[in-house]
């Protein structure tokens, strides 16, 4: 048992504790440094760190090399919070994209970014998850309902819409900016 009473009397008269003791790195920093140093990105993905000292905020670019979105270029922002890895990183799509699982404000519907996040998952898992969204858009879990309906009912029209959107064009009431590689 720690005897605070006698201990602290002693502490009071005694030496002041060393204050040269540097702060321990936070759990989030330990983990993100590890995650990043072990990124094994698919060749379709690149990361960009605006400030190399800030490992908690960065960009990801995905250029799918197959599937409906082949030839496109899509940017995502990652914000890793102090509670990482107990909370998932916040990911937004910064390119307006015609996609059933990404809405026009950049919200992404990917299970591991919300309800299925687990601390054992890494930044790598999230990047692979995002890449998978472009290979296999999922009309069952729509965030952009129009795009999902088209994909479900008419795959050819969907593919044409995707191409049109990526070249820069209007679908429905929305203008999509050109995002070809």
């Amino acid at each position: 048992m720690i005897k605070l009473y006698s201990l602290k009397q002693h502490k009071k008269d005694g030496e002041t504790p060393k204050s040269g003791n540097q702060r321990k790195a936070s759990a989030a920093h330990l983990r993100i440094t590890k995650d990043l140093n072990e990124l094994t990105l698919p060749k379709t993905c690149t990361t960009e760190f605006p400030d190399p000292d800030d490992l908690l905020n960065f960009k990801l670019t995905i250029c799918p090399d197959e599937g409906s979105y082949k030839g496109g270029k899509f940017n995502f922002s990652f914000k890793v919070g102090v509670n990482y890895p107990h909370e998932p990183p916040k990911v937004k799509c910064e390119t307006t994209v015609y996609h059933p699982n990404i809405d026009l404000d950049g919200n992404v519907c990917l299970n591991i970014l919300r309800e299925d996040w687990k601390p054992v998952l890494t930044i790598n898992s999230v990047i692979y998850g995002l890449q998978y969204l472009f290979l296999e858009p999922n009309p069952e879990d729509p965030l952009n309902k129009e795009a999902a309906d088209v994909l479900q009912n008419n795959k050819r029209l969907f593919d044409m819409n995707v191409q049109k959107a990526m070249r820069g064009g209007v679908i429905g009431n929305t203008y999509f900016e050109k995002c070809l590689k």
């Binding site: 720690i2 330990l30 690149t46």
Partner: protein, 441 residues
């Protein structure tokens, strides 16, 4: 007055000035202990809300003389039913300041010093000052922060023996409706918050696609307005202020519209408030019970008169009264408190280049790394020294390789954060530099 004084502390004296079969074996009764409690013992209460008010009142009545309280919040009208140190006129004032003033006026033997700021705004030296800390918080993040801070204050001697005088016990209370818990954490000795992190229930989240296209619950509609409609329409050109009734009303109306659209019943103003503010219903009696248990532990920590709670007690009065105490265990690989041996690296002098350090880490018998990434904290800011596996960072940090430690601002005692595939997690290495000031000649 003297007689009064005697009578007031009589009961405490019975405990502190004589021995009993229930005492801790090491307890030495005496008159100095009460004196210590009243004059020298300095403690910090974190949070001046529902639990905090109870804690402050109990601590003051129990004889503690030097209490600090920290809370970043201001008083809201809805607090007044249970946060009894606050009155109608205090709405919008600092919780810490009003609570301190109330106690100081009411209990002359207790001096409460308020700190109206975030816990993160205070330095190590602030926290180091206290004999122990009592938490009445509503957030896991804040708990973890305090826990991490107290653990970072521990110091170990060269044989990895914990220096007991650096231990600052943490008594943590928590309530949610009719349930509550109390735990006593002796940093470095008993399990810490992060050892038992999985005890906290996960936050309720709904799949985004459900919210967006197939809502079934009233909560789905509210979450939709909060997550999607608000950022899109940005009705008041600001983030959601959960205390602003105008904001809540807007969300309520929009949620109602959406619920009607999908034929969902049950959206009402209170539910909107609950979902948006993440409100956990507060029950005054639960707070009172938990705070009393916390202060009993505080008294035992300060006086050593009885063995402490070992180490986790739960309380539930939803249906009858139920309590249970058990011993949570330390997690051997806890990221925050596992008794990792401090790792050291001996360096000759600060003229050494960073690339040489990396070479040493790769060749060192103990480390034998492959491709380490290095970061360091300088002047309170984290700096990436080198990260080989991320091309954009590698390019920007490559010039560091040719720089000397001195040029990079690295001195004796600095902690390198190192991540490498040879180790399942990143860890810190303390640099021991023999010749620290080579440029002095």
């Amino acid at each position: 007055m003297c007689d009064n004084d005697h009578r007031r502390w009589n009961h405490l004296k019975k405990i502190l000035e004589r021995s009993s079969p229930f005492c801790h074996p090491d307890f030495e009764p005496g008159t100095g202990i009460l004196e210590f409690l009243q004059n020298s013992c300095k403690l910090l209460v974190v949070g001046a809300g529902g639990l905090g008010c109870e804690l402050l009142k109990d601590l003051a009545m129990m004889g503690f003389g030097d209490v600090h309280v920290i809370d970043m919040d201001t008083i809201d009208l809805s607090n007044l039913n249970r946060q009894f140190l606050f009155r109608r006129k205090d709405v919008n004032s600092s919780k810490a300041e009003v609570a301190a003033k109330f106690i100081n006026e009411r209990v002359p033997t207790c001096r409460v010093t308020p700190h109206h700021c975030k816990i993160q705004d205070k330095s190590e030296d602030f926290y180091r000052n206290f004999h122990f800390v009592v938490c009445g918080l509503d957030s896991v993040v804040a708990r973890r922060w305090i826990n991490g801070m107290l653990i970072s204050l521990l110091s170990y001697d060269d044989n990895q023996q914990l220096d007991n005088s650096t231990v600052i016990p943490l008594i943590d209370g928590g309530t949610e409706g009719f349930k509550g818990n109390v735990r006593v954490i002796i940093p470095g000795i008993t399990p810490c918050i992060d050892c038992t992190l999985d005890l906290f229930p996960p936050q309720v989240t709904y799949p985004l696609c459900t919210i967006a296209s197939t809502p079934r619950l009233p909560e789905h509609c509210i979450e939709y307005v909060k997550l999607i409609q608000w950022p899109k329409e940005n009705p008041f050109d600001s983030n959601i202020d959960t205390d602003d009734p105008v904001h809540i009303s807007w969300i309520y109306e929009k949620s109602l519209e959406r619920a009607d659209e999908f034929g969902i019943n049950g959206v009402n103003y209170r539910l909107v408030q609950g979902v948006i503010k993440n409100i956990i219903p507060a029950v005054a009696s639960t707070n009172a019970v938990i705070a009393a248990a916390c202060v009993t532990e505080a008294f035992k920590v300060a006086t050593s008169c009885c063995p402490l709670l070992n180490n986790y007690a739960v309380f539930n009065n939803a249906d009858g009264i139920y309590t249970y105490t058990y011993e949570a265990e330390r997690k051997s690989d806890c990221i925050t408190c596992s008794p990792r041996k401090a790792k050291y690296l001996d360096i000759d002098d600060t003229n050494m280049r960073l690339e040489k350090i990396i070479e040493i880490l790769c060749e060192h018998q103990q480390y034998q790394m492959k491709n380490p990434a290095l970061t360091i904290e300088l002047d309170g800011k984290r700096k990436t020294l080198y990260m080989p596996n991320v091309p954009s960072i590698e390019l920007k940090t490559r010039p560091n390789l040719k720089m000397t430690l001195e040029q990079l601002g690295i001195a004796d005692g600095c902690k390198l954060l190192v991540a490498d595939i040879t180790n399942p997690r990143a860890f810190e290495i303390i640099l021991k530099i023999k010749n620290n000031c080579v440029s002095m000649e």
